[in-house]
């Protein structure tokens, strides 16, 4: 069944969009990532104009994250306090990121920068998670050595002021590291046009030392607000949010997110992380190849002024 999208001005198959939404929704619920880094390239691929894809994707992430957070709230795996602290940094970071983005746009080649950002961050994050999770699995398969506890000594981090207890995460740390993490992720999210979950999740696990089960819900909680903010910015400045496209994607997405949360709850944390790492590396590899291999069509058409 073909549907004509009023803002994108293209006609696409409704079931294809529902399917894409469902697929990305499952991943979103499992890993606590918004899925933007997967969905946005997929939308480009089916012929949605890039500006519309990026803006509409933000709107869809709001829906799937909200659906996911409700599922996590029921299981009490959301650290609301930590989420709010991260959000403060995140919103400031997103604002800075938009300023930086516009500055780079005036210099030209912002498209290339966004791609390079993707390749570098996806590559580094994916590789680190992959190695760490492999080690964790190897450790768990050798019961003779007994339970190995990760050293909780974070050096300078434990010496920072404004210490607070984050009861759900079981942490007693300063609020400065979470705010900084939120800020950096916010900047990157604004530049790369995604929720930033794939950076946020590893940052929470490895930098803040939060337990994986809590990380996913908390990350989703924070993503809702950052992407809602982005959606409004796109809708009011670029007029590129296509609500028909968003509805089709999010119907699939919200259902997928519920299923994903169920699957995630049944899997071991290490398996979850290794799967996310594998997926991140896959997308990274694809993007890197696009930059390195000579494209079949060297030319591209764009409306003037767009990037």
């Amino acid at each position: 069944m073909q549907i004509y999208l009023p803002i994108a001005e293209v006609s696409v198959n409704a079931f294809l969009l529902l399917g894409l939404g469902g697929f990305v929704g499952i991943l979103s619920g499992m890993f606590g990532v918004g899925g933007g880094f997967l969905m946005t390239p997929l939308l480009f691929f089916i012929g949605i104009p890039p500006a519309v894809a990026v803006a509409t994707e933000a709107n869809q992430i709001v829906a799937s994250s909200f659906s996911g957070v409700l599922a996590h709230l029921r299981r009490k795996s959301v650290d609301l306090k930590m989420g709010c602290v991260l959000l403060v940094g995140g919103l400031v970071g997103a604002g800075l990121g938009v300023l930086l983005f516009n500055y780079l746009k005036s210099l030209g080649q912002v498209d290339l920068l966004v791609r390079l950002c993707y390749v570098v961050f996806l590559g580094v994050v994916g590789a680190l998670m992959f190695v760490e999770s492999l080690n964790a699995i190897r450790r768990s398969k050798r019961p003779a050595t007994g339970p190995v506890r990760r050293t909780r000594d974070r050096g300078w981090v434990s010496k920072l002021p404004f210490k607070t207890r984050f009861r759900v995460s079981g942490l007693y740390i300063s609020v400065i590291p979470p705010i900084m993490v939120g800020l950096v992720v916010g900047v990157l999210a604004a530049i790369m046009g995604v929720g930033g979950g794939f950076i946020m999740v590893p940052a929470m696990i490895y930098l803040l030392g939060m337990p994986t089960k809590v990380v996913v819900g908390t990350s989703l909680f924070q993503i809702i607000f950052v992407t809602a903010f982005t959606t409004l910015l796109h809708a009011t400045t670029n007029f590129t949010v296509d609500v028909v496209l968003a509805v089709l994607l999010l119907v699939g997405g919200v259902i997928g997110a519920q299923i994903g949360t169920q699957i995630g709850a049944r899997m071991k944390a290490e398996q979850l992380r290794i799967l996310l790492a594998g997926m991140v590396l896959l997308v990274c590899g694809k993007l890197a190849l696009d930059l390195l291999i000579q494209p079949a069509e060297l030319y591209s058409i764009a409306a003037p002024g767009g990037h």
């Binding site: 909200f66 409700l70 599922a71 290339l112 999010l250 919200v254 930059l291």
Partner: protein
Amino acid sequence: MRRLLLALLFLIVSPLSAEETIVADLSQRRVAITTDFNGSEILIFGAVKRLAPLTSLEPLDVIITVSGPPSPVTVRRKDKIAIIWANRDEVEIDSAPSFYAILSSGPIEDILSETEDLRHKITKEKMIRSVDAGGVADAAAFTDALIRIQQQKGAFYADEDAVSFDEQTLFRTTVDLPANLTEGDYRTQIFLVRDGAVVSKFETDIAVQKVGLERFLYNLAYNQPLIYGLMSLAIAIIAGWLASALFSAFRRT
């Protein structure tokens, strides 16, 4: 006697070509884009009106063009910079149609002369106007690329025996408007061609417009962007909540 006959013949022949006019119509002059819009097929038909009977001369041919609303476009070319492929050169094209179909009763290069093509801007190459090369040496390659990409997308197409032309008088053809249509007036031109030259021309517009929900959402997005944005967010939140509520209800039963 011979001179008189020649003069008589001249009298009949010379105004004849000018006296051939096109009478034509379209099966529809408005195309409404609805939510389930999936392209449209428009029948273009007509006849050649003559004040005097046709004397056997060079045969007539018909060329029909349909062009979407023109807009400026930027064509960019990727180049290898260090080890990565990135956009480097770009050419601004002042005006290119979003859609262009050229249908004829014979091969264009046989029935239309180069100068007439240039004057009436019939073929795709002549249709795309004023290229601002901006220091790029091979600007023509960019125009070619635009045509090639649009052809692959189905937005540009040519069919050299799409027009059926009976008895040098009646002609008919259908034009397929694709599903990915943009709004605007689609200019339809019918050319009557003899011996490489255009002898008569007919022009009309097909109005393509969004209607109903499509129209409402489009207007809202551009005129009330804040309300539109908030509405999009509300839909997202409600859908997210609904899915979650349904799933928890499922699990309890």
